[in-house]
Symmetry: C2
Subunit: 240 residues, 2 copies
């Protein structure tokens, strides 16, 4: 049964891509959780390990790219299978960038250690990361089981992340204004918050790609992109 | 001559991708130049136009993706041609993100208008954008003529962008420490500087993809990624 064999083997190759995407998602999530933990607990060793882990996702992305090209060249797939393969290339790029976000946060542990902030703030950052990583987990799982309803629901929750980012942004500005000695550390924490907010954007990107894989078209509605912090200075000059 | 015709038409389709990438590069550069101009000249109207332009790059990216999938499905290309097509998908994603950077900067014009900074700083930002956009222009042009030597040279200049970013980062922290009323505006300018720095990263990504398209493998050497700002707090506690 050569035809049957070929079909099964092709399915196996597509499954390899889906499985590898799932592994990259797990790894990106783990890197981000550990980066936040390193910030909260001022753990330089953990930060160093996170920074070193970034290569794993770089290599996974390339492995998916090369496998995708090999599959296309050998199988010459059509329509939905081709979308699946091209989609895997795109999703792996988003996951690789989430790894970059984790690395970026880990690199700031040393800078922040010099001037520790109130414990309350780290807890906010932790809760924020939990919210964003929940979105990432959901979209990866929804893609894993090809649930279009769950995939589309992820896009609708991005505004929760934006709202929480705005709250954190304002909180950090307040700390900076209260005491100039907080400025350097808070600046680094602002970038950490921005990195976490971008996880939400990547989760949304992945949801859009997954929608495209399953339906052949992109979701229509423009998602809201304005997180509110752009207007902080303009809307509240009294803060200055 | 059906075979000859087919070959020429295939070349035409590949040329379409290259041409479209060139157009996206021009457009991303224009958006970024105008976003910086809007910041420097406090031009809200120009900022609004830049924000609206972002959709053009979103659509161009999707057009390239769909065309790429169509070419693969119809032509079933091998090896170098397939790399060319997959590479176009990746490069267009980088260019679309540079458009996002321009949009992000344009959105901050309103916030910064409330508390204008010393003119000297805007000039630094302008010079920095010029440096980063020069890298982008070079890699797009080098890809256009398929010059591997020029493509590889782009990666070597990323450290100039990182060095200039570090200088700007420190300068902005100084302004914030001098006067708390500068904090909100300078925070937005810090994010503008970060966005410009990321253009350099995208130019480097494009150079790596272009190298892969032409040779079939990625450049070996790990490029330096530490721009120095991560250590600002740790290395110079006296600044606080």
């Amino acid at each position: 049964m050569p035809v049957h064999h070929t079909v099964r083997s092709f399915d196996g190759e597509l499954n390899f891509l889906t499985q590898k995407i799932g592994e990259m998602g797990d790894y990106a999530e783990k890197m981000m959780v550990e980066a936040i933990k390193a910030i909260v607990e001022d753990d330089q060793d953990l930060a160093a390990r996170v920074i070193a882990q970034d290569r794993v996702l770089d290599e996974a992305e390339r492995e998916i790219d090369e496998k995708a090209i090999m599959i296309i060249a050998r199988r010459q797939p059509m329509a939905v299978d081709l979308r699946e393969i091209i989609g895997a290339i795109r999703i792996s790029a988003d996951l690789e960038r989430i790894g970059d976000m984790g690395k970026n946060i880990a690199k700031r542990v040393a800078a922040i250690a010099e001037n520790r902030q109130p414990k309350a703030f780290y807890k906010s950052l932790e809760a924020f990361a939990k919210l964003a990583l929940g979105q990432l987990r959901e979209v990866i799982d929804a893609y894993g089981v090809r649930s279009l309803a769950r995939i589309d629901a992820v896009r609708e929750h991005d505004d929760e992340i934006d709202a929480m980012y705005t709250t954190l942004f304002r909180e950090l500005l307040t700390y900076m204004m209260e005491d100039p000695r907080n400025i350097t550390a808070c600046t680094h924490l602002l970038f950490c918050a921005k990195n976490i907010e971008r996880i939400g954007d990547h989760a949304t990107n992945i949801a859009e790609t997954a929608h495209y894989i399953m339906t052949g078209s992109y979701p229509d509605t423009e998602r809201p992109k304005d997180d509110g912090t752009y207007r902080v200075g303009a809307a509240e000059p009294d803060n200055l």
